[in-house]
Every structure is written in C-alpha cells, then in structure tokens.
C-alpha cells in the first residue's frame, strides 16, 4: 500500500505539529507519523521563547528578543541563529492565531516574558501562557490574596507545598484541600479523569459550591490545570461567575491536561484541513536514492505502509521521543543513522551534579543542520536535499535550561517548511 505526500513529518510533539500546521497553511499535502501519544502529553501548556542565557550565570531575560540577540552572539550555532527575528515572530503569530481560532487563547505581554508559579510552587519564566493561567500571572505581579486549591488523592500537586515554596515571592497565598466533587473508584485522582469529569456542568457547579464558603478575603483562586479537556476557558469563566472571584490554572505534572488540549485542538483542526495523522505508528526507515529521500516506511502492529513523499521532516525529538538513541558509548540518530554531534565519551555526557546550572553537555548533542534546516551528513554537506530536522532533536541547544523549547519548535518548523517550499 502506498500513499503520496508533499511532506511527511516524523514526530507528533510541538515541533511536528507546528510543522504540520505551517505546511498545511501553505497547501502542502502533509502526513504526520507519531509513534507515541506525543511529547504534548508532557508539555506543561505554557510556551517558552527564551528565559535563561547564559545558563551558567542563570541570567533571566524579561525581554526574550534581547536575550536571543545575546544568544546568537554567544552561541552562533544555536538553532535560533539560523532563523531571522522576523521569521521567529511570524511563526509565533501564525501559530497562536491558529490556536485561538480553535478556542485556545494564549496571552502575554508584547515582546516580554511573564512569570507564573508552577505546581511545585517555584517560579517559571515563559513567553505566552494559556488564558486559563493568565490571572495567575497578574496575581503574582500584584501579590493578590489568593487561595490555592488541591484535591484529595492528587499526589504531585499539593497546595500546601505550593504555598510553602512560593512564600518568599507570593506571601499572600493560602492552601485548601477539597474532595473532588465527583466519585471515582479508589482514592487516587488522575488529571485527565478529573478534567473529563469537570466537563459536566453539574460537577462544575458542585465544585463552585464547595469552594464558595472558603473564599474569604481571597481575590483569586488557583486550581491545578485540570479544568476540562475542552472549552477550559469557558469552564473557568463559569466557575469565576459562580464563586464571584477569578480562577486560574497552575501547570502541573504530566499527564498534562493543557498539553492534551493543545494536542486535541491541533490534531482536530489539522485533520479537517486534510493533514493525515498516522498515530501509534512508527517510522522505521526512510528510503533514499543518492541525496534524495523518496519514501517513509511506517510500521504498526500487523501493518506496514510506504509513504511516498517529496520531502521528509524529522521532528522525532530526543531520547524520550525516540529521535535519538543512546548506546553505551555513542549517540545515534534513530531512523536514518545521521551523524550526531556529541561529546567524545560517555564520561562527558553528564556533569557530576544533576542540577548543575550549566546543564549537561549531552543536552547540546543532536543533529547539526545547515541554514535550510537540513541535517549535515558525514561529508559536511546536507545529508539529503529534501530532509529537514526541527525541534529538540537539533544540536547546540539546551531547551530545558534555556527555557526555549516552544520557540525552538516553532522557529525551526517555520524555517524548515519555508526552505522546503523554496526548494520546490
């Protein structure tokens, strides 16, 4: 069985999704092969552009564009150095607009980063946050009196812990624990199940009435990011109206409901635009001829398919995503065996301390690409003329320490799709 596409994208995380969007926007016949539920299950929902640079100095940028300018000077190989500011800005604008049309609104301050508290009570600097989290950003700025709510049976999200850890920066927080207003078997409460339950107006009203008597002086109420799988903004507005004060969501541990909202919104809207999703399937090989990719072999259980294509875009992530594979002494690219930029020995992969602010050298490993986002082969030239690589798979970046994951995904996806079109 064979299908024909303009562009086959391998990977269903943010980078793959963004690439699929940019491609569909430019009328390309596109397929996305995603072996797992995708990285979005682990995505907190907030979108970073650049938070920290240089990481060793822990310098935090209020204006990420200035940070990026400094980053390009200091790390000329960082993927941001391959993308012009105008393209970077355009990628955000197009992408956020698309999300907004799907009912997911993102907010922030023009050209500036914002700060919010995490589900652990620490601070996170990011660029754009879902509208459901925005009142928390303002609340933190103004140190408003706020009530943090958790539910019995949530093991990783404890309001008392958030209050304790955030106290130095947000002293006027108060913690309260409620029973989740819907009975599940057992004592454990899971993010996705709770989010689903809150879709019901009845459950939502029950939640509102259990919070109402506890409000007291609170001007704001923080809840874990589990308020609905769909229409979260509406549900929170509904809660706010019933209780009489604004609500905000706090990003929590995975499985992440805001991540799922992104995934479902993107998948739904892209499918209706004609993007083909092959989920639960693994891209096992790319067939090539000389310097040209011709097709992608996709395998599932009792299933194999050949996708003929004019271009291939790798958004396969790192070790967790399956884009990179680590043998005992060597890092490999998993699908085509492309050369991986990496430290010389395993001894150099990681530092002696896990939380070393300089980050682990292995995080800078990955695929080196040319200015068209094409992976570089052994001979120093692009490996294949129509093969592109985007997102966390790329070398010379540490998105976890630099807080640049979403920006990296959007910018490189945008640049790769543009290059592909220009080359056609």
């Amino acid at each position: 069985m064979s299908e024909k596409y303009d562009l086959v994208i391998i990977g269903g995380g943010l980078a793959g999704m963004a690439a699929a969007f940019f491609a569909s926007q430019r009328k390309l016949q596109t397929a996305v092969v995603a072996s797992t539920a995708g990285g979005l299950l682990f995505a907190s929902g907030v979108l970073d552009l650049l938070g920290i640079h240089p990481i060793g100095e822990q310098r935090c940028w209020t204006n990420p564009w200035q940070g990026i300018a400094a980053l390009r000077r200091d790390c000329p190989k960082h993927p941001y150095a391959l993308v012009a500011d105008s393209d970077l800005a355009a990628s955000w604008q197009e992408f956020l607009q698309f999300l907004a049309q799907g009912g997911l609104h993102y907010q922030g301050r023009t050209n500036h980063n914002v700060t919010l508290i995490t589900g652990f009570g620490t601070l996170k600097t990011t660029f754009r946050v879902p509208r459901t989290m925005w009142p928390g950003v303002l609340g933190l700025l103004e140190k408003k009196d706020a009530l943090i709510v958790d539910f019995k049976g949530m093991k990783e999200f404890r309001a008392s812990q958030i209050v304790e850890n955030a106290r130095p920066v947000w002293p006027s927080l108060r913690a309260v624990t409620l029973s989740f207003p819907f009975g599940f078997p057992g004592a454990e409460r899971h993010n996705v199940a709770m989010a689903q339950a809150l879709q019901s107006p009845e459950v939502l009203t029950r939640l509102a009435s259990s919070i109402r008597p506890l409000v007291g002086q609170a001007e704001l109420i923080g809840v874990p990011s589990i308020v609905g799988l769909q229409r979260a903004e509406k549900l929170l507005a509904e809660l706010a109206e019933q209780v009489g004060v604004p609500f905000f969501e706090i990003p929590a541990m995975p499985p992440s409901v805001p991540g799922l909202r992104l995934k479902e919104t993107l998948e739904g809207r892209l499918t209706s635009r004609g993007v083909r999703f092959l989920t639960g399937r693994r891209a096992v090989a790319v067939q090539t001829r000389q310097r040209h990719c011709q097709s992608v072999i996709v395998r599932g259980e009792h299933y194999e398919k050949v996708l003929t294509t004019r271009g291939v875009l790798l958004a396969s992530g790192r070790f967790l995503g399956g884009g990179l594979r680590a043998e005992r002494g060597r890092l490999c690219e998993a699908i085509l065996g492309l050369p991986v930029y990496q430290p010389q020995t395993r001894e150099q992969w990681h530092r002696q301390r896990f939380l070393d602010p300089r980050g682990h050298p292995i995080n800078q490993a990955g695929l080196a690409v040319d200015r068209f986002m094409r992976p570089i082969g052994c001979d120093g030239h692009c490996a294949y003329e129509n093969l592109f690589a985007v997102g966390s798979l790329l070398a010379h970046q540490d998105w976890m320490r630099m807080k640049c994951g979403a920006g990296l995904a959007l910018a490189t996806a945008y640049a790769a799709v543009t290059s592909f079109i220009d080359s056609q």
Binding site: Q161, P168, A187, P251, A326, F354, P357
Partner: protein
C-alpha cells in the same frame, strides 16, 4: 519509643529471653540496668527536645560508633546481655559497606582457596542466620559456574577445598545448570550448586537495632564524632554533633567501640592511633528486572565482576576492587560500570543488553597484611577485634574487616571483650535468639510492596512510589519512627527504610510526591525545594554512570520536569 513499636522495655526482654531457652536468667542487677536504658538522663525521650542549645551530657555503659550491620549487631548483643549502649552514626544506618554490597549470604565457597578462615565463618554464620533471621533472607541457593577458558587447575581443586572446610556442594552437568538458570551462557564447562542465599542488609540492620532499642539501647543518626577527650589512658568523653542541631552532645561511656568499617582508621586517629587499614572500593550494578533465581558465582579465584545476586525484583552485578585513600567520596564510575557489564555478560550474555537502573559503590575495610598481598583481592575478608589497651587507650576497641555474612560473629567477639572489661558475665545469646520481625521493616524488601498491593491492597491507600508500589501507609509507619527519633530527616532517610526512589524513575516522581506529602503533613525539617533537590542529587550519583538506552530517556523526562518546568536548577526565590 514510638507508639507503633510491638515490643517495649521489660516485656520485650522477657520474650527474647524465653526464646533463648537454654539461656540462664540474667541477674536482677543486669535487668535493671537494661531497663534504665542507654542513658542515665531522661534526655531524648521526647524527640524534639534535642534541639536545645548548649551541650547535652549523656552517660552510657558502651558507646558504639557506627550503625552499619556490625554496630547494630553489637548494640543488640550487648543489650541482650543487659549492657546499656548508645549507637552514634554520622550518616544513616548502613551508610558504608553494609548498605552497598551484593546482599549475598555466603555459603563460604567463594573463599575456600585464599581465605579458609573466612570460608568456615561464612559457612557457620550463614546457616545460623537462615534460622534466626529468615525474614531477611531469600534462600535462593547459589551456583558456581566456570566457562571455557577459566583456570582448570582451580576447577580441579575446588571440590576438595570445599570438602576441607565442610562446605557442601553438588556437581551439576552444564546442561543441568542451564535448565536451572536458562540465562547462563552456553559456554559452561563446570557447575556446582552451593548454599548461597540473598540477604536484605537494610532489614537486617534495622531489626537488630529494633531489638536493641526495645531493650533500652538508643541510636543517634546523623551524629558525628567530633573529638575524643583522653584522660588517664582512657577516653573520658566523646563529643558529638548532630545534623541541624545547634548544641553538642558529650557522652561519658565506660567503653567505646569503633565499628565504623572503612572509617575505622579516621575514628581511631581521633584517639591518636594508627590502624593498618586499606579502603577498597567495590562497585555494583542494579539490573531491572531480576535476571536469575539463584546467586551466580564465577568459578574462579575471586576477581572482579564475577557475582550476580538476585535481590527481590532486581539483580545486583558486581564487583570491582579499587584502592582508595579515604572512604569518601566513593561514587561508581562509568569505566567501572562498563567493565562490570562486559565481564558479567560473559556468564550471562543477556546482561550486555539489560536495563540498568542504577550503580552504587561501597568501601570495604580490609586489613593490610604487609606487602605480601599485592592485590586487594588477596587481602583477607576476615575481621579483627583490636584492643587498643596495648596502645595505651584502655577503654577503646575497634572491630573492622569482615563480611556482611559474619557480622554476628564480629559482634559476639567484640562484645565478649567489652563485657569482660565491664565485669559483665552474661554470655552471648545471639546464636539462639531470633530477630523479631517488624512490620514497618518489610518495606525494605524489593517486590514485597508490589505483592502486597496485588494481593488486595487498600485502594484508599495512595501509592506514593509507583515504580516500587510503596503506599502512603508504609511511609506513615516509617515517618512515625523518624519523627520519634527527633533528628532532622530528609527523603533519603525514608528511602533507606523503603523502596522509594529505587525503581526505574529513581526519584523523579516519587521524590516529588514524598516532598509534597511531607509538606502536607507538616513534618518536614527542610523546605520542600531543598528536600527534592537533595534527593535527586543523592540518586544522581548512582544514576549518572548507567545513563544510556531506556534509562537515559527516563532521565530526560526527569530533567524536563524538574528543570524545564520547575526550574529546580535555578536559585529558589
């Protein structure tokens, strides 16, 4: 004493004595002294009162330094003889070699060629422990296997050497060995069944201490010996300092025992003494899942990378032997890990591709026996009880060397000497009195929580550690003990008493859940950001050298959460 303790004071004593049927009733004097407890002051009965300023004075009969398995065994041995004692430990129980070993209860066969005394001791002690501490032991049996290319002279001598020491073995045909352990290599040329077993060193030490504490002994964890005051050829006072506590503790003890394993040299130095001790680092690997049912030994003179021991749901692969100048730092290295993988894969080929979730290293205290023994592998695994009276310190004894398997004997010999000095005539009864299993201690056992859960765990009991299935109720039991001891504790203290953090996530999720739980219960002594960071760093030492394959993907997720989302690497506000 905590509320949950099954045994307490006098009744415990009575129960234990009953168990030792042939044992003569101790004198009233001894019993009274024992009931009085380790201290002649009432201090420490309410945990938090520890945090006073100034120096707290304490008196006890015997001060034991070191809460490894030897110190714990000593505390119990002495308590059973009616001798009040106090154990101090700079870190936590089993912080040295007692907690970083194969968990192997040796049949003795490993030492028949180069260390016959140790071989015989192992044979006798392992037989005893199987009877007295069955809850700490999985009687797996063991195999010695030789593969093509191994020293054939040694093969030929092995049965005779075992017979000389009275160690029973049974020869197997290579195919029989393969039927028993299908993961073994097909290159086997000889195989013998032996009576090796797997022992859980954490439960062993905790239960020794439990019994001692039930008889009035006390344990001070996270308490460092700062100084000995010497007067008239004796240690007149020992100054201690506790973690997170502002005051010092001054202990006046009639006898002082140095049971600090690889640290024995450093402690003896505080009394101006020099010990002929060598530190030998041994690194081990943890594979998940468990590879074999039995203990597998390579049939050759003891060397590196030749033992694979099952431990509940995992296998432990080791060891190496590297001379260190000091017992710390002692982290496993990447080279050692790589060496172990390739060496162990020669007897069990699948180990080349197995998933390793952790590595760890411990320091053996070996007795230096002159220049004759060139390699540390040739140094005796025997133990030594050193009476420092000969060197002018009359109430100071060091016990060191030895093996996990022989800890009871080491404690007996040391306690004999100390009791003679104290004028206590009560004999050792640890050969007869079994340990008293305690429920709270079962959580140290790999696989036990999961089995309990599957057998109908309480669904209202949240699993705080999902990899190893440790429920909140288990953490509550452990917390009750820790809170009662009054010494500030962190997540590592809980992890040591359970399987928390020991599964494949290595603390990434359970660490956060525990920190959250402590913060919710308001029993934490540290901020929860600090609790989590410390725990992750502690786990990191053992994780870093095994980061490839699946475990590296696991680590990436951990970093994405703790750094990417929570920014734990950044200075907290």
């Amino acid at each position: 004493m905590t509320g949950s303790r099954e045994l307490s004071g006098y009744f415990a004593k009575a129960k234990l004595l009953k168990a030792a049927a042939s044992y003569r009733q101790p004198s009233t004097d001894q019993l009274c002294r024992c009931r009085q407890g380790a201290f002649r002051t009432s201090y420490l009965t309410t945990g938090k009162s520890l945090r006073r300023k100034g120096t707290v004075r304490v008196e006890t009969q015997v001060l034991i330094i070191g809460a490894g398995v030897t110190g714990a065994g000593l505390s119990r041995d002495l308590a059973l003889r009616g001798v009040a004692n106090l154990v101090v430990e700079q870190a936590d129980i089993n912080a040295g070699a007692s907690g970083a070993n194969h968990g192997l209860l040796h049949s003795g066969a490993r030492y028949v060629s180069n260390d016959p005394v140790s071989a015989r001791q192992c044979k006798d002690e392992s037989r005893l422990l199987k009877r007295l501490a069955p809850e700490c032991i999985e009687d797996t049996g063991g195999l010695f296997v030789a593969i093509a290319g191994d020293d054939e002279n040694y093969l030929a001598e092995f049965p005779g050497l075992c017979a000389e020491q009275g160690i029973r073995i049974r020869e197997l045909q290579p195919q029989e060995a393969l039927d028993l352990e299908p993961s073994l290599t097909k290159d086997i040329i000889a195989a013998y069944l032996v009576k090796d077993a797997a022992i859980n060193p954490f439960r062993l030490t905790l239960e020794n201490l439990d019994q001692a504490e039930a008889l009035g002994a006390r344990l001070l964890r996270h308490t460092r010996v700062v100084r000995f005051e010497l007067r008239g050829g004796r240690i007149s006072r020992v100054l201690l300092r506790q973690r997170g506590v502002e005051h010092d503790v001054a202990v006046k003890a009639e006898q002082v025992i140095n049971a600090t394993g690889a640290w024995a040299k450093n402690i003896a130095a505080l009394a101006g003494l020099d010990l002929p001790l060598v530190c030998s680092k041994g690194t081990l690997l943890v594979s998940q899942p468990r590879i074999t049912r039995r203990v597998i030994n390579r049939l050759r003179p003891p060397a590196d990378g030749d033992i694979v021991t099952p431990a509940g749901t995992v296998s432990l692969i080791g060891t190496t032997s590297v001379r260190l100048a000091e017992p710390e730092p002692c982290d496993p290295t990447i080279n050692e890990v790589d060496f172990l993988v390739s060496e162990a894969a020669r007897i069990i080929p699948s180990l080349a591709e197995a998933r390793y979730i952790r590595a760890f290293a411990g320091v053996r205290p070996l007795l230096f026996q002159g220049e004759a023994a060139e390699k540390d592998r040739q140094l005796s695994r025997g133990f030594l009880v050193l009476d420092h009276a000969a060197e002018g310190v009359n109430n100071f004894v060091t016990v060191t060397g030895g093996k996990l398997t022989t800890f009871r004997l080491m404690a007996e010999k040391t306690a004999d000497l100390v009791c003679e000095r104290l004028g206590v005539s009560a004999p050792c009864i640890t050969k007869k009195v079994p340990l008293q299993p305690r429920k709270a201690r079962q959580w140290t056992e790999a696989g036990k929580p999961a089995r309990k859960w599957l057998q109908g765990g309480d669904s209202n009991d949240l699993l705080l550690c999902e990899c190893e299935m440790v429920p909140r109720s288990a953490v509550d039991q452990i917390l009750a003990d820790l809170v009662a001891q009054g010494v500030p504790f962190d997540l590592s203290d809980i992890a040591l008493r359970s399987r928390v953090g020991k599964g494949s996530c290595q603390g990434a999720f359970c660490g956060l859940r525990l920190a959250a739980y402590l913060s919710e219960k308001k029993v934490a002594d540290f901020r929860s950001t600090e609790l989590l960071s410390r725990f992750l760093e502690e786990r990191w030492h053992g994780l870093r050298p095994v980061l490839w394959g699946t475990q590296l993907a696991q680590e990436e997720l951990q970093e994405a959460l703790h750094c990417g989302l929570f920014g734990l690497e950044l200075e907290s506000p």
